[in-house]
Symmetry: C2
Subunit: 374 residues, 2 copies
């Protein structure tokens, strides 16, 4: 039972519903990132108001601070964060690669130093499953090693085989509960054969959903789309597909068009904190002096508070004055933009007009925004 | 016409209503500070949700950035901030003393350097009135020189006489509009005779309300209360009285009991940003490890989101992880605490039981909180 129901397809693109212990998720879906059990700069009410259906939290960060047992003693993530809707937790593999200092891999797990205080920690598939259980994750991710980029085919294969070993161990250690999900993660870098072997290994184990990992690590959009073209068709139609850590609006459009259902990325929240807004006419940097005297809205097509309640020149002022409200309002706006983007894609899939919808979206963006995404 | 109506008194304490162009203000009232046209860490909806009736903004900060003419071109403070309720603007005198570098006073105004970029600026009573008009302030403050502390009686007298000259010039330059108010500011440091002379000078000019300035600058609560005891009875009963820059909950109780109607202070917002919470049982520092595992509410008697939706241990986590949501939630809580404090005082005045109410409040605080306020 995956509780995932496909409602419509348009080419490779899909619209579906994933039922979970904490409510339904309409796909395709973008999941805002709440690394340390908070979407930075947003109250949970504000996150809800953007239309977010599910948020991410990070095993790596939370095991170090405040600690998984501490989160459990505070009632779990849903209660602690006041977020009764679904929560997906990353398994920790990616952050150990990107954030921790000394780390030592072995067949059974990884020993690493905290980026906070240098203290030594160990993460195994079994402990990752236990931590995500303590956090009360709706969707648990199998522990993987996120393969470095670039990697030779031999390096990528060794890394992928370790992740597949850990995937089996994660599956065995995951505690089944109704409506709680375990997703496996396809690795194999940019090598189609390795991606195929990885996918077959995960299918043999059996998961509630399948993530595509190891992308958005520097390979570029064209290569990423090539990997998707080779990988996504291998995944079963009746399971949700999650592209981890992606991406810009243009990345999401390309991946949804290739049959991906779920996404997470820090781009909308991080960009918002630094003054960059995704709009119907492209990406704007609100710190730019050109906005100082602009008494029009940030984006006339957006219904968020930043756009409907304040002139653009005020947002500029808030960033120039380094006021918290600037990052708060732009984070809200960007998450609303991403939500509206995904809702628009879903509606277009349901109505069989995805191609025309995407063309209209892209026409609205400026050339620079459409090409760089940022 | 002051549009100020006394509804009840209890001893020297008063409950009233001030009618303005942007709505009514029930007094006694605490006004959250929004220095740069934003209450730090709060959306305007959140400020409204705390029950705030009126917020402050600062002439000094806004004339430097983004500039008064810029604010006017963006529709004025009310529209820019999405705050249709009353706004009081400080005249700039206090901030020039406390923030700017080189400054040179003369009979007609002050020339000073910006603390932002060292650029030279001049503020006169006429320009201060013009700026506050451009900002669209509901309540404009006369330009004063905030007398340094300590000051000899001669120094305090010279400073006060300059402020009275500027008060007359402010009155003459203020552009009258229905429901817009101009307040004068009593100076005179800690010297009762000077305070009396200053009050008489302001009364001869005539203002819509009277502020008591030059306090909370290091003289201590006992001296401040002595000054209030000597000054407040000189003020007309039919005009609102505003104690500038004050203070802790205990300061507010003491000043309300002495007949003050209006207050502003950065304490609740600044304390919230640094992890300190005012509660019914005193002041708590949420950064303290004692709160890490506490799954109870911050304050069981408070109805704000920080208290009703999250365990105390989560607030601790947010501050330890330096997440924006920590300051956001504690600012919200502290403003709600201050609002509930003022509502409670007002209700007690209306019911003629202020003394008993204050005794009950103080009994709830811990000794350290009641004595230091922080």
């Amino acid at each position: 039972m995956t509780d995932f129901h496909l409602i419509a397809t348009d080419g490779a693109a899909r619209a579906g519903i994933l039922q979970t212990a904490h409510g339904e998720i309409a796909t395709p879906v973008f999941m805002p990132v709440g690394t340390a059990a908070t979407v930075k700069g947003m109250t949970p009410d504000a996150v809800r108001a953007t239309g977010a259906q599910v948020v991410l939290a990070n095993t790596y960060h939370l095991m170090l601070r405040p600690g998984a047992e501490r989160v459990a003693s505070l009632g779990g993530l849903h209660r602690m964060m006041d977020w009764p809707a679904p929560i997906l937790t990353d398994s920790g593999g990616f952050q150990i690669m990107s954030l921790s200092g000394l780390r030592k891999l072995d067949a059974d797990g990884v020993t690493f130093r905290s980026h906070l205080d240098g203290s030594s920690h160990r993460l195994t598939p079994e402990r990752s499953m236990q931590i995500q259980h303590l956090l009360d994750a709706t969707i648990t991710m199998a522990l993987d090693e996120c393969t470095k980029f670039p990697a030779s085919e031999a390096e990528a294969e060794a890394s992928m085989r370790l992740s597949m070993r850990w995937a089996a161990a994660s599956r065995a250690a995951f505690r089944e509960r109704s409506g709680y999900k375990l997703f496996g993660i396809v690795q194999g870098s940019i090598y189609p054969d390795l991606r195929r072997i990885s996918t077959e290994a995960l299918l043999a184990i059996g998961f509630d959903g399948y993530a595509i990992g190891g992308l958005a690590v520097g390979e570029g959009q064209a290569v990423m789309f090539e990997v998707l073209d080779a990988s996504v068709p291998l995944l079963p139609a009746d399971r949700p597909r999650y592209l981890m850590g992606v991406g810009t609006p243009d990345d999401l459009i390309g991946a949804v068009s290739r049959g991906v259902d779920m996404f997470d990325c820090v781009i909308p929240t991080r960009a918002g904190r630094t003054g960059r807004a995704f709009t119907s006419s492209g990406v704007l940097n609100l710190r730019n002096a050109i906005h100082a005297g602009d008494d029009g809205p940030l984006d006339a097509q957006c219904d968020c508070p930043a756009c409907t309640r304040h002139p653009r020149g005020y947002l500029h002022h808030l960033f120039r004055a380094r006021e918290m409200l600037g990052p708060m309002l732009l984070t809200w706006h960007n998450l609303r933009y991403y939500r509206n983007l995904m809702t628009g894609l879903r509606e277009a899939i349901l109505q069989g007009r995805l191609r025309a919808h995407v063309e209209a979206l892209r026409a609205g963006w400026t050339r620079s925004a459409a090409s760089s995404g940022m």
